[in-house]
């Protein structure tokens, strides 16, 4: 992503990071993200390149792996999303990955294309259950599990960060406010408006 002097704005107009006993909402604005799509028949080379550079095995099932401050999230057959904190050093995953995967995969910056929110707390599954159709019970969905699905008709990628439980949810940026409207309504019975 080109460096800009413009101030970054949150994808969420009204949704702010807030902590409640039942649910903690964290708006993750300072992320660097890139999609990885393997070229036809090159997936094994992509996996080998990521293994050499980051010491992790790219998942071929809906899972998330982490290494060197970066998370790789399964994003469909032979596709992944790489996510890291941008941080004070202005880490840029697209710039970082392009030379690693040159000629074997398409690497495209998604940092400003997606909005990501982290939800945690004892009632997080109850909040999500009202809009997400998949079973998030710990017997069915575990830490580092990934699901591409929809929440209240909004396309999302959801992954479980830990057993707290905490989940992170990514959506197209332009859907962020619609998602926030659904989320605040769904969470209202636990945290109030």
């Amino acid at each position: 992503m080109a460096k800009s002097t413009l101030a970054a704005q949150s994808a969420f107009t009204d949704l702010k990071t807030s902590k409640h006993a039942a649910l903690t909402i964290e708006v993750l604005d300072d992320l660097t993200m890139a999609s990885i799509a393997s070229s036809k028949g090159r997936a094994e080379e992509v996996k080998a390149a990521i293994r050499a550079a980051y010491g992790v095995e790219l998942p071929t099932t809906p899972e998330r792996v982490t290494g060197k401050g970066i998370a790789f999230i399964w994003h469909g057959p032979d596709q992944w999303m790489a996510i890291a904190d941008r941080g004070a050093g202005m880490r840029d995953i697209e710039v970082e990955l392009k030379p690693v995967l040159a000629g074997i995969a398409a690497v495209v910056d998604q940092s400003d294309g997606r909005a990501v929110v982290r939800l945690s707390g004892p009632r997080v599954r109850d909040v999500l259950a009202k809009g997400v159709g998949i079973d998030l019970d710990p017997r069915a969905f575990k830490s580092n599990g990934v699901a591409i699905t929809h929440a209240s008709h909004i396309g999302i990628v959801l992954w479980q960060v830990n057993d707290a439980p905490a989940y992170e949810i990514a959506m197209f940026r332009s859907f962020a406010d619609s998602f926030a409207t659904w989320l605040t309504h769904s969470a209202a019975e636990f945290i109030g408006h």
Partner: protein, 98 residues
Amino acid sequence: MRINCPCCGERGIDEFSYYGDATVTRPDLTSPTAMAEFVAYAFERANIPGPHRELWYHAAGCHLWLVVTRNIATHEILSVESARDVALARNANAKGSA
């Protein structure tokens, strides 16, 4: 109805889009009888109750195209395959018999 996506596992029908008959293949445009063949390809369906092979697209999931064998009288799903694998196998068979 739920479809067991080979990538994502079992998901609700709301995540999928139906894209029609998976048993027909696009005719050769240069064939002298192309018009009749395309009419059959696009429109003519026997619609017999029982198992049928049909194309589904996991639109709200992993975006995989699927060939679902479904009993259209009972909605029972008998198998789910990646459409890519089905097409590759069909092409391999066509080459083998040529």
